[in-house]
Symmetry: C2
Subunit: 463 residues, 2 copies
Amino acid sequence: MSHDRLADLSRRLPELRLLTAPADLEHYGRDWTRRWTPAPLAIALPVSVEEVQAIVRWANEQAVAIVPSGGRTGLSGGAVAANGELVLSLERMQRVLGFDAVDRTLTVQAGMILQHVHDAARQHGLIYPVDFAARGSCSIGGNIATNAGGIRVIRYGNTREWIAGLKVVAGNGELLELNRGLVKNSSGYDFRQLLVGSEGTLGIVVEATLKLTDPPPPSQVMLLALPDMDALMQVFALFRARLELQAFEFFTDHALRHVLAHGAQRAIDGDHPYYVVTEFDAADERQQEAALAVFEQALEQGWVSDGVIAQSEAQAAALWRLREGITESLAPRRPYKNDIAVRVGAVPAFLHEMQALLARKYPRAEVIWFGHIGDGNLHINVLRPDDLAEAAFIEQCEHVTHLLADTLQRHGGSISAEHGIGLVKRAYLDSTRDAAEIALMRGVRKVFDPRGILNPGKLFADD
Amino acid sequence: MSHDRLADLSRRLPELRLLTAPADLEHYGRDWTRRWTPAPLAIALPVSVEEVQAIVRWANEQAVAIVPSGGRTGLSGGAVAANGELVLSLERMQRVLGFDAVDRTLTVQAGMILQHVHDAARQHGLIYPVDFAARGSCSIGGNIATNAGGIRVIRYGNTREWIAGLKVVAGNGELLELNRGLVKNSSGYDFRQLLVGSEGTLGIVVEATLKLTDPPPPSQVMLLALPDMDALMQVFALFRARLELQAFEFFTDHALRHVLAHGAQRAIDGDHPYYVVTEFDAADERQQEAALAVFEQALEQGWVSDGVIAQSEAQAAALWRLREGITESLAPRRPYKNDIAVRVGAVPAFLHEMQALLARKYPRAEVIWFGHIGDGNLHINVLRPDDLAEAAFIEQCEHVTHLLADTLQRHGGSISAEHGIGLVKRAYLDSTRDAAEIALMRGVRKVFDPRGILNPGKLFADD
């Protein structure tokens, strides 16, 4: 039966590359989560919008589910194919389609790797400012599908802010050209914005027109050691008020231990419970002096115990590695992840409550947290104790996530800040969205994808 | 029959203020367009979210159409009630509900006048940067419904960029709390963004959480006279590359004539076909010198014939009045308006074609254009010749708009840059959106407003 369907697809698109070898099914059937066993029907690797559209039409007729697939660096299971779906990989669609110097936009195919987008922008003396550690593997289409955030949100916002236009194959097979690069376009519903963050459940992004901007002025990178949690928000408020921040990231001593064990170099001696890596404009002496003055003020107030300013690009990179290397250093332990957000103003109260909850509920597991404090976004990684079986561990974590979701709901927060809902958090969607809103989400999905062929089971618990 | 319905509404909400006097029906039944005869059923002036919700539920049960109503400064007929609708005016919902210093957000009721939003932000040393000439009358809810743009878009973007959260009563009567002020929230479809620019056809915005930002550095205002149209984009490119622009607005000699006749003061002698008002950062001597150098370079190149830099705040205001006074100076003539946009890079080619079209098709009417060249947004105002009857004039203009829409379509532009589609441009929606996209828009509308009670006939030609 599934063989017949694939044969039909091959007949329609004789040039389409289709993979069915077990190693390919496993490789393309999973993302950076490792909780599900990949079991796709096949992998399709189209090279054009027309092929994508033909595949979606075929899928509608043959009732085959499609999992849109980019770099598969996702952490929410959004690109997992564990139920006989066709994986539609964009990895052969990686071309730059155009650059406009007046509009300052770059148009690319959706499979393009984020690092290559950065490189292409730099060639024109401009930057695409969304950035995070997975830049060498993740695709721009995947970034758009999850409205990816990262380490520069405090300065530049999320992916959403940088999308001037999208070309999308909707679930119903129609090709949509959304906004076409316009700065102003008050002509009805902005489906470009609706598609950003829709996790492949409304349409498949095939091309994107990205806004670019001027490179930031020269910057400095500073590492700070903090004596306690309350100091975090005080240092943030002080630094934000006095410096032009490009990034303000924090992590705990637990996180530091793992990243040091993974080969990073210690930059501050002694034991400190919290650390901050911050980057700020330092174009001239005035700004550099301001940074020193602010650091000294924080030291005098007792909000900071120690600190170091990078004296070279190499040292700046070494300081950044302490923060950016965390996820990779934990990966072999396959941590259970939470990626949560509250309003920035709600961070202190929420942090206290959250920390108490985690200490109480994970008495034996190591809990590592870090994140983008200036965006109200915290990443929590829980490591499985060696003597606890995988299934029991996940069950325990899910129990805690339920309690965390309740806490978030009371603080008006979100169960997914930047990873998306996917499979991993779909049971908790109702902690962030009211029933009335979820009902409308389902309704909108039905409009775009009436047969429910795009990424079924993702975002919503049942389809 | 309609009397029965109103009696039913009064029974349900005895405290609700309802107006039915002919003067009120006329006053609240129209916006700044004057093409339709107001004929609402009544005017409801709720004071709370609960009252708005009760009215929408009543309207669903009684099959009464609702026209959401703010400052009624709209130019597209989006707030016109000409078919027995209930006008739901937000003008008694104008309170500030909260300010958060850490999040830097201001939460207000949707009926608040834009000028009062500006004032409230200033009280906290911050600004809400969306701004335009109607600031003293328009409401923030109306700004959101049309994704209003204005004179600072080049620096700050449209209204869309400044919305951290929305409280909305959907067409189905449900209350939605969208995004709740979060910086990061990848938990499904961003309906906040869908509501912005939806012209009251999906839900009624009742509260908004607005992002605020630091005031810009001290600025200077410059008026430039230009010898021809080609110089426009050259001067823009030069100024954008070398200065930190806050605004870059252009207008023609025709526009100048009207605004001078309306009481503004001439600032540059002689006859020049085009003028630009630009405002840019001038925080220190370096920036002020850069502005002079750029001006001199433009003069040497022959792109600028003359210019003046404001030497005081009063003179800056006088220069701004030359641009901001245009709409008001034309209002007594009830011009036919187009508000169109193309990509910035497409402006030169489009301008040439458009100018030829207007010259050919309006041989006798005076055509005045001006706009936001840095956003690709042009406003065209056509004045009725004294010897042409109103109906014949509009017929002629609609004919030209059809041709203009074709031109726009070829250049990938939009038939509405910032005014919205409303009644005025609904016949031209398909020049900007493909049939497939319009079909999805109708589908989404049906999800939010299954009975079609919210602003029927607006945006879409038939409901």
